[in-house]
Symmetry: C2
Subunit: 223 residues, 2 copies
DNA sequence: TCTTTTTTTTAGGCTAATCTAAAAATTTAT
DNA sequence: ATAAATTTTTAGATTAGCCTAAAAAAAAGA
């Protein structure tokens, strides 16, 4: 029965993520960067993943997931995001604290565990950071793509997710009073530094820097 | 920061278990048996654990946990048993299904996770098999030691735990209608094969073989 | 085009955790 | 007490996953 190491599973997840942020072919150096290893180590691993037919690999040409590789990547991502929901909703962790734990929990090998967890959590569609949870069948739902920084003055939207997942950014949002699901109305945008003045319920006014606004994903306002 | 591999943690747990079922010195062969590896591999690992001062090891003389080794073993056992409670009480798994998953979950590295889990589960004192859960401070509570097979006719007791943790045994109990916490009254013991006739509420009569009775732990009946 | 720079791969090594086969120590039996 | 049987350790390999240094290929630039 094909079983995979933590390392292999992490590579697949990272190849998936890199392929969906930029060109579809993922480079050896890009992987060395995100795995915090050397390019030579990545080449080693790519050969092993290619042997297992989890990736398409041609020397010097970068790498692409096979159907089986993508299926596996989405399964790991599903587990990661469901465990994050558990940690935040059930155990009361902050959304800035859960990534490392989920990084380990995602490798627990039991499909039944994941499906029971999903039921226990009431089939959540998004993780605590607003990222969509892949379906058990291996389909990744669409994520919002509009950023707060894209809005014009007087427009209203709902905060749906973050692009920057760093604890520093998440804690900054906590201190600002910005939470996912909250309705924001843009009152003014500075022509100088693109910073925004926004209002959130109940009538509070906040200043949001461009650096923050371009890392916040938004969608249509709640009715 | 001292971190330990899954393998090391499993060895410590197994050394603890073996030391508390028999003589205090654990033999290389006994460990080879329970780890399903060869004696030579065990010797290798014992040297590594001794280097880290987690065990006392003298060639040919067997092995004993150091204070630090025991502290760590109890920490892993605590995690294992708390995760089992989670899987049974919250996710609805059967007590015969959870061991393998807990065997992986016990290695997730986060003290805060375990303590929050403990709180979420309402500080359980026993796991689904009736085994006591070590305290956060690293103390192993006493376990019941009397067996159902030790009782005499007309005696009444409360079922508290199992000695055999195999799925086959646990499923046999499920099919018999015997559950932990249930009150059993011994009505008759066969002089021939030591099998018992017992009654459980609400007035049901069961036949219990000696093989089952000597694997069931009991305590004083509930008032 | 033809260097120069950057990226990627190869070559060779290391460690943890396993193995088999053989040697050494201990225990049991005559 | 000595020989035989058992247990344990040593010796020498293997595999996954990593490393550095050097070679090779591809991309960029003059
Ligand atoms: Mn991971
Ligand atoms: Mn997330
Ligand atoms: Mn384990
Ligand atoms: Mn248990």
């Amino acid at each position: 029965m094909s079983t995979h190491s933590f390392t292999e599973e992490n590579y697949l997840k990272l190849i998936y993520a890199l392929a969906n942020r930029g060109t579809n072919e993922v480079s050896t150096n890009a992987l060395a960067e995100v795995t915090a290893t050397r390019a030579a180590s990545v080449t080693d691993m790519l050969k092993r993943l290619a042997d297992k037919e989890l990736i398409h690999y041609r020397k010097y040409q970068g790498v692409r997931l096979t159907d089986e590789g993508e299926r596996l990547a989405l399964k790991i991502i599903r587990r990661h995001r469901l465990w994050e929901v558990f940690l935040v909703d059930k155990l009361g962790f902050g959304w800035d604290q859960v990534h490392e734990m989920a990084e380990e929990l995602e490798h627990i090998r039991s499909d039944e565990l994941v499906e029971r967890l999903d039921t226990f959590l009431d089939n959540p569609q998004f993780d605590p950071h607003g990222d969509p949870i892949p379906t058990p069948a291996g389909h990744m739902p669409d994520a919002p793509s509009q950023k707060l920084a894209d809005l014009l003055p007087s427009e209203t939207a709902c905060l749906l997710g973050v692009l920057d997942h760093s604890a520093a950014f998440l804690q900054h949002l906590d201190r600002s009073g910005l939470t996912l699901g909250c309705t924001v109305n843009v009152s003014e945008i500075s022509a100088f530094d693109r910073s925004m003045r926004v209002t959130i319920p109940p009538g509070q006014t906040l200043f949001v820097s461009y650096d923050v606004a371009r890392n916040l994903l938004v969608g249509p306002p709640k009715p």
